[in-house]
Structures are given as C-alpha cells and as structure tokens.
C-alpha cells in the first residue's frame, strides 16, 4: 500500500499526554498510601494538579482510571512463557510466576480493590475480566492444550474447568484473606493434586 491510513486528527487542542500521565501517576501514588475507599477523584485531581474535569472527560470512573493505571504501568503483567516438553513442569512454572506477582503488596491491594468494584458494577466487571482474568485463562489454556497434544494430559479433560480450579484457588486465598498468600510450595501442591488426583491407589 502506498497510501497509509492516516490517523484522522480531530480538530481542536489535542489531549495532553502530560496530564494523562500525571493523573495515572497520582492514582498509583495514592494507592500506595491510602485505602481504595479513601481515594477520591477530587483527591487524584489535586495530587496531579489537574482540573477535575480533565479526569471526568477521559475516564468514566475511579475504577476505570485505576485499572488503566495498573495495566499501563505493567504492574500486573507476565511475559509469555516458553513451553518445555513437560506440561506439569510448565504449569508449575506458570503458577509460580503468577503467584510471585500476586504477592506484591501493590498488586494484591489493586486486585482486591478492582475485584470489589467489579462486583458492584456490571459494566466494569466485563472490562476487568477482559483486562486481567482473560489473559490468565488463556495462558493456562495454552499450557493445558499443549499437554493434551503431547498426550501427557487426558484428552477428555475439561480445560475450562481446570483453569477455573487453578485461578479460583489463588483468588479464594487472596480474597478470603485468612491464609498466607500463595507461594512456590502451593504451586507444587496444586499441580501435583491436579496431576494425580485424590483417589487412593
């Protein structure tokens, strides 16, 4: 193609990236020092030295803003994993990496807050799923399908159900807030449970 599709510039003053970054920074900043409950749009605006309207113009809600800050600042992000020939080892590696991220104070706090918001707002729930959980599910699916192809996993396995078990367990621990967070040992335990099953032999 000779003619590239040019981004059609809207008329008027363009959005200021400095303002945008400032708002996201302020949000992350406040999250590290305050409870989610105590963070307000006005507070973020004041911290970022930005007009309130500039926030309302670009983000529909506090939750959307924070979700964007989290995704953008790549606090909750994992590079794709190279699969070995051993499915269960791969699964364990994936879980260890995931749990390591989840153990960071800021991450667990953020996930907690955004999960809460997702329960109270159906629209945001869908966005949150897309931005956070979908990728995790896909990662596990990928590993499991690979395992099926290698004939290391039973062909009739319900991949979706397994993914829900895995993520559910870590989610449960995070949200119930009674046990310690997941670590490497837990990853091993979960994988070996799923691999061998409960049945006495």
């Amino acid at each position: 193609m000779v003619h590239e599709v040019k981004a059609k510039r809207a008329p008027g003053r363009p959005r200021s990236d400095a303002t945008r970054q400032g708002v996201l920074d302020a949000a992350i900043d406040l999250m590290s020092t305050h409870a989610y409950r105590d963070i307000t749009i006005e507070g973020i605006a004041a911290t970022a030295r930005v007009g309130k309207q500039s926030i309302y113009r670009w983000w529909p809600s506090k939750a959307d803003l924070l979700l964007e800050a989290y995704t953008e600042r790549s606090i909750y992000k994992l590079p794709p994993q190279i699969l070995s020939g051993d499915v269960f080892a791969d699964l364990e590696v994936d879980l260890v990496r995931y749990f390591t991220v989840l153990r960071q104070e800021m991450v667990s706090k953020g996930v907690r807050s955004l999960v809460a918001e997702a329960q109270l707002d159906e629209t945001f729930r869908a966005k949150f799923y897309e931005a956070v959980w979908r990728k995790r599910c896909e990662a596990v699916h990928r590993i499991l399908h690979h395992g099926v192809a290698l004939r290391q996993i039973r062909a009739d396995v319900d991949v979706e159900a397994v993914a829900h078990l895995i993520h559910g367990a870590s989610l449960y621990r995070l949200l119930s807030g009674t046990s310690r967070p997941f670590d490497e040992d837990d990853a091993r335990t979960v994988v070996s449970l799923l691999r061998d099953g409960l049945k006495a032999r």
Copy 2:
C-alpha cells in the same frame, strides 16, 4: 445446678426486637429491588420507619447489617449432610447443594456485595469469613477426612488445598461473571477431575 445463671438485665428501656426485625426486613427488601451501591442507611431507616440512630446504635456498618440479615434469614444456609460410604459421591452431593444455593439470585447478589465490602474493609473481611466461608471449608474438610479414614483418598492429601480448589472454582465463576453459574454437571466435572487427576494413563 439449682441456681441458673440469670441474664443480668441492664437498666433502662430494652432493645426493641420489632425495630430490629424491621430493619433486617427492610434491608433484605431493598436488596431485592436495588443495587447494593444504591442502598443507604438513610434509605433502610426510612423503609423500616425507624430512626437512623437506631441503626447506628446496633450495627457498625451497612455491610454488617446486611451480613446479619443474610445469616439470620437463613438464605445462605445448608443443613449438615449425612455421609455415605462413597467419598466422591458425598463430595458431589455437597457441591450440588452448595451450587444450588449459590444459583439463587438473591444469594449470588448478596455474596457479590459482601465480598466486595470484604475487600475494602479488613475488619469486615474477617467477620465475613467467619460467617460464610468458614462453614463451607469445614464441610469439605469433614468429607475429605472421612474419605481419608475410609482409605478412598490418599492419606498424604492436603485437605486445605483441595478445599481451596473447590471453593475457588465456584467463587471465580461467580465473581468473574462471564460464564454461567455452576450447576450439577460442573459438580460432577470438578469431582471427577479431583478424583482422577489430569495425567494421561
């Protein structure tokens, strides 16, 4: 004992049970018609035709009030289960019963709201765990330990981890809000997965 321990009556006008019930009723009532977000203490007081102070006197927060309403009105309650000789059948029965309760509109809505609150308030999180999740965990623990005693389950199994897998899966589905809620088939799937494991044989 001849002398019973008499409840030491406090002086002054006693707490009105009619008022208490009215408040709890109003709360449940509003929950069935409004989003949790839109329910306010003032609204509950007005609906119950009760002074605002009477609510603040007895409940520390909206969440505590609703948790009490849910527990008291036994919307989220399961009678104890009689264990058969087949552990995996018992497990499946337990899950089917649990999922059936969770599928009720009011229950899932309530759990969602209270989980959200629990994420935003550490004190309430502990209360919520005690009132809701603890019992579920104990039910599963009981079944699993029984299975170990019957030698139908491997003796070295991490009962805690299994309970987290089971509850986590249903919690994940409920909270992520993308898939359909759990049903009998899912209970079967989960149990057979846990029983036999993933490994190809």
